[in-house]
């Protein structure tokens, strides 16, 4: 009855694979950008174009090296619905190793549990609200660290590898190593409820009750940015894996997008009428799904910030939402876990519904699961596995979801089978390739491009000369040093304070100018004083000194 069959093979093998690998905007016509009189430039541009084409075609040629394709549960007829298939049935049908992976940890004491899988999916970090934190190699069943912290633990997350993890505890956030040894107490991260680790920037972003979003560089230990949301406690958090922008959900139903280099949110979206309960963003950074306490669920296309689907009345408010690598949408409400396939498409037929209610073209759930007498606290798709990890009040459960995991992994990027040596090398490599925190932007492609405000064509010699002489002119007209102000007191003179700031024994051209100006100022002040005292006339001119001034 139930089977996981590979459907990917016949689906997308039609000729136009190279379009997937093309980059940039292909809008401009060839003749347009090639319009130049410079032969050398023309040849260079042509060469670049050729190289680009070659690169695209060679990348497309590697497509056949990815033979693995994800398969989905498929119904045999119209009457059969895949969401009716239960986990026990799937477990019976699948192979032993997959069945073994569907682990179910019954931990009733310290729940509810929140879970976090490491980036390569080898390790699982569980964090019970009441202070039970454990890190394990879940496939081997190897417990790496287990701690009872005896205080509230909100959430926990792995850092760059499974060697380190951060735990948001009652007041502070702590960083532990793989054996559970406390390494750091992040005293600036207070009452954290949500944490995200940005792997390419080595940043730990935290948000919580305080309404501050804080970025900590875990490689250097610096607090990179503290951003005040001004929107009360943060109720949800997610990172966009494509551009490392952090999405925060707030009590007033807005989702704000943040980068550490901007004190104000990059974008504000009104996504619910009540508080946002959860946010999820797909791997490519195209879509965002949010659930609100007002029983709404919205799917956004965050490339252009348009709503794709808006579901206003879920049976109960959604508490968690997640999007798998393959684009499955998982939503939890209370004890329910519901998954939809193809929910991230803009067509009307892909709008998720709970039931078909007689219509044939409705996107009914792909799978669903119920934890009776329980409540789901946290969900996460397991990387490279057909599993979804669910943290609930009574422990942690992995549900088998056929077609949830990325079938082809790139071992140079994230290797699910990496050895200790590979992990070490990967860490060094990622540290070397670490991106600076202030390079985070809504569109990361702007890096390296020409500034929007700059002229679109290359400046001619005159303009360039103008720019270069601009500074020179500044110094020529004494614009780069404080003005002469004979009115103010000598002590308050800007020129004097300028001199004070300068190193005493260094004499440069600027300093000499300042000294000259200061002399002028002094004499002007003196003259003023004299006038005030009536010693000299307003019109009085010292002809001798004026005549001599030209030599000064």
């Amino acid at each position: 009855m139930s089977k996981s069959r590979s459907t990917g093979n016949q689906s997308k093998k039609d000729g136009n694979t190279s379009s997937k690998f093309e980059r940039g905007h292909n809008g401009t016509h060839k003749s347009q950008y090639l319009k130049t009189k410079d032969k050398k430039l023309k040849a260079g541009l042509k060469r670049i174009d050729e190289k680009y084409k070659q690169a695209v075609s060679s990348a497309a040629a590697t497509e056949y090296l990815l033979p693995e394709a994800q398969g989905y549960l498929e119904a045999e007829n119209e009457m059969e619905k895949t969401f009716r298939i239960r986990q026990s049935e799937i477990k019976d049908a699948v192979d032993v190793t997959t069945a073994a992976k569907a682990l179910d940890l019954k931990l009733k004491e310290f729940g509810p549990y929140s879970i976090n899988y490491s980036r390569n999916g080898t390790h699982l970090l569980i964090c019970g609200r009441k202070g039970h934190v454990a890190s394990m190699d879940w496939r081997k069943g190897d417990l790496r660290a287990e701690m009872y912290l005896n205080e509230t633990c909100q959430t926990a997350t792995y850092l760059q590898s499974e060697q380190y993890f951060a735990v948001a505890q009652k007041k502070y956030t702590f960083i532990y190593d793989h054996e559970g040894v406390e390494l750091h107490r992040l005293k600036q991260h207070i009452e954290v409820k949500h944490m995200e680790f940005l792997p390419y920037h080595y940043l730990l972003a935290t948000a919580g009750q305080t309404g501050w979003l804080k970025y900590q560089d875990v490689s250097t230990g610096q607090l990179v940015a503290e951003l005040r949301t001004k929107l009360g406690p943060t109720s949800a958090m997610a990172q966009n894996p494509w551009n490392a922008v952090v999405h925060l959900g707030h009590a007033n139903g807005t989702v704000t997008l943040w980068a550490p280099n901007m004190p104000t949110p990059l974008v504000r979206l009104l996504s619910a009428r009540g508080p946002i309960t959860s946010i999820a963003i797909d791997r490519q950074g195209y879509y965002m799904a949010t659930t609100g306490a007002d029983k709404s669920m919205k799917i956004w296309d965050i490339r252009n910030f348009r709503e794709l689907h808006s579901i206003e009345n879920l049976p109960t408010p959604g508490s968690n939402v997640a999007i798998s690598d393959t684009g499955l949408l998982a939503v939890t409400r209370g004890p329910h876990v519901t998954l939809w396939k193809d929910a991230l498409r803009s067509s009307k037929s892909s709008r998720p519904y709970f039931g078909s209610s007689g219509f044939s073209d409705r996107n009914t759930p792909y799978m669903s699961h119920l934890f009776p007498g329980n409540r789901v606290n946290n969900i996460q798709f397991v990387p490279f596995e057909d599993l979804i990890g669910v943290g609930h009040e009574n422990g942690v459960t992995n549900l088998i979801v056929p077609g949830a995991g990325e079938a082809n992994y790139d071992a140079l990027e994230i290797n699910p089978f990496e050895t200790a040596k590979q992990r070490q090398e990967q860490e060094v490599r990622t540290l070397l390739n670490k991106l600076p925190a202030d390079s985070i932007a809504l569109d990361p492609n702007v890096i390296g491009t020409v500034d929007n405000r700059a002229s679109a064509v290359r400046l001619n010699a005159k303009a360039l000369a103008e720019i270069t002489t601009e500074k020179e002119n500044l110094s020529r007209s004494n614009k780069d040093i404080p003005d002469v102000k004979p009115d103010v007191k000598g002590k308050n003179s800007g020129l004097r304070s300028f001199l004070r700031k300068k190193t005493q024994n260094v004499i440069d051209e600027r300093k000499i100018r300042v000294q000259k100006q200061l002399e002028k100022e002094k004499s002007a002040r003196h003259r003023k004083e004299m006038i005030k005292r009536g010693e000299i006339d307003e019109e009085h001119k010292d002809l001798v000194s004026e005549a001599l001034n030209r030599f000064g």
Binding site: G24, A251, N304
Partner: protein, 852 residues
Amino acid sequence: MAKKSRSKRSRKIAQNALEIATRELDESSDNELSYKKDWHQNGTVINAQKNSDQEGSDFEDEEIDSDEALGSDDDYDVMSSKFSQTLRDKRKNAEYDEDEMDGYISLDENDLLPLSQVWDMDDAQNGSETENPTELQLNDDLSESELSQDSESDDESESAEEEDPFDEISEDEEDLNLQTITDNLCKKTEKANYRKLDNGVYGEENEYSLPSFKAGQKKLNLNDLMSVVEDKAAVEKASLIKNKPSSLPVPLPQRIQQRHDRKAAYEISKEEVNKWKDTIQQNRQAEHLTFPLNSSAQHNESTMLVNSTEHPVMELEKRVTKVLKESNLVSLEKESTFEEIATAKIDPDEMRKRTRELRLMRELMFREERKAKRIKKIKSKAYHRIKKKELTKNQELIEDFEESEDEQDIARARERMSLKHKTTSKWAKDMIKHGMTKDKETREEMEEMLKQGERLRSKVMGNSSEDDSDDRISDLENDDKGNFPETDISRNNVGKSGVMNMSFMKKAEARQAESNRKTIEDLKAFENGNKNIFDDDIEHGKTGANINLNLGRRVYTPSAMQSSNEMEVLEHGNGSETEEEPTRSAVNSTQNVSERSKDKRGSSNLRSKNSGSIDATSQNEPNPWLPTEDEGKSRKSNKIKIVDENSSKLTKSANKIEKKRAKQTRQSDERSHDEEPLLDVENADKLQLNNHNNGTLSDEGIVFKQQDLIAEAFAGDDVVDKFQQEKKRVAIDEDDKIEDVTLPGWGDWAGAGAAPTKKRKFSKIKGTVRKDKRRDRNLKNVIINEKVNKKNLKYQSSAVPFPFESKEQYERSLRMPLGQEWTSRTSHQGLIKPRILTKPSTVIDPLKAPFK
């Protein structure tokens, strides 16, 4: 410049002449006075030649062409005549250097003239120069044309008419140089001139006024001059003199000539350089260059091309060979098979014998060579010492006879200099520096020092080197005796044929063997002489040292031995322990985990029970805003609880919103009331589900939940409104602003009845973005921040970079990321390949000229 200086000089001369003339006139009146004065002024005798030379050299200092300078230098005394010109030319060609030398060195008594003569000379020059001043000028100027030549030829004819000075010159005075000849010439002409001058004056003859020339004397002719020249060939060649000189074309001015030369040279070099043009262009346009260019490809000749059999059997083989033959790919040498080699035809027994012989021969030769090498290498301390002693003894013997003391000293000094750490002391350096080594005492002291140093060094070095050498000698002997007893026999037998049989080879071999034997004997003698030195070391072989394999260091005590054994045992045990590594299945291990956690939990539970009770009491208090989830197990329905819990999470914020809402108008309240049922219109089925859930609620829950729902609903309405307002506000804030900057009353008439001006002043303040250009203008529920992110700007280019002309071009070039993460390996390598690749450790030749 030259002209100028010359004219100056001529003026000077003219002045002199005038003086002389006046003196002559005044002679009668105050003869004696002037005489005294003159002597006093000029000294007794002056060197006219030198004088002129000095002037010439002064003149040379100025910037002039070397030719001109030379000319002026030479022709000073006979400047005006064409004859001198030709002479000069000749000289220039042949004896330029000598002449110059002459000018400075050949100062004989003959050259020294009395003052009066000098006066005469001056006078004469003056006369000749004043005669044709134009000629003087023209003479120098090379750019002058025929006119000057004409005048010159006239001069020549004039000079030819003058009397011949060579009449006076006898045959035996041929060695007189030209200088003196010209001097004489001058005298003659001067005298003539003088007479002319003197004609007007009728004075007596005395030592100041020479008797006038006798008329009828012959004039100097060119032919007369030629007769002096001995070289017949030169005389033959002197066509200028013999024939009427035909005018040669005037050479171009030097700078113009040089310009022409340069032009021509440039053309030639350009042509030469242009040969490279295509190659260079090609290289410039090339995307990648690999140096050395055009490196010869190394082909591995595949064995495929070599035929296995001589005659192809298969059809395909035949065809292939045919093709190969046609394309000259078959090499004859390779084709020759083993059978064709001459040796293959010999009887196998014979062959074997020969090879054996050859092998033996080679072996013997090799061994002898090795031996020689080894002996050569042997350098024992004792050997060296004795060698050195011998050498010094010999040297002393030789020194006694031959070397002078100085040489010895020098040798010693050199030796000392070369010995690094002995002469580095300050004292030694000083001694050497100041040549104190000649002093016997210091020398002895120094030698003593050197000896001391040597002794010390030998102490430092110890016997290690001796050990090595000693072993070697014995080894050698052993080799000879033990391993190859039959060497001599075989040596005699082998080598009856082949190269070894030749007499010179035999001789050489014998010589080598003999020398080897001798050296060995020598060494043995040394050894015997110094036997006691080496005896000690042999006993060192076996001491109590116990070498532990693992530790790699020596242990000298028996207890150490024990401990090491213990260590071994321990290690073995460890190994066995690590062997039994448990392998667990996923299920097993997870159970393990849960068990462990249970255990720990048990203990922690006990501990936390006390504190937990406090928590429980606090939680039991009825708080409508807090969730009731803690009594989870007694719950009947989860779904109800969930709603409650969710609301409870957000109660704080909801509460806040409610407070704010209270300030709002009633109208909005009513509106939200109206809207509430609308929520469920769209999906009827879900509404039912919802109602069903609600139906199971207990009374308390319903009341609480409805309140919550209402609050939520109101909050939502508020949220939307607020968001819209915020969006409007942001749009206005970031828009361009127009500010009223009119100053009231400024420039107006004040007072009653004054009409207020309607003109108002506005200034525009530029905002970040205009309202109608906002990116979110058409997007509902979205506010996009339009502010420029200044920290991002540093990652952007402020202008289109150089080779590109437009932003489009530049950004198109950025399209493809270079990193290996984003492209395939081949394209990545292609994208990052440097333009120039050089092969390390190869010589890069300059570009070769292509042949054209």
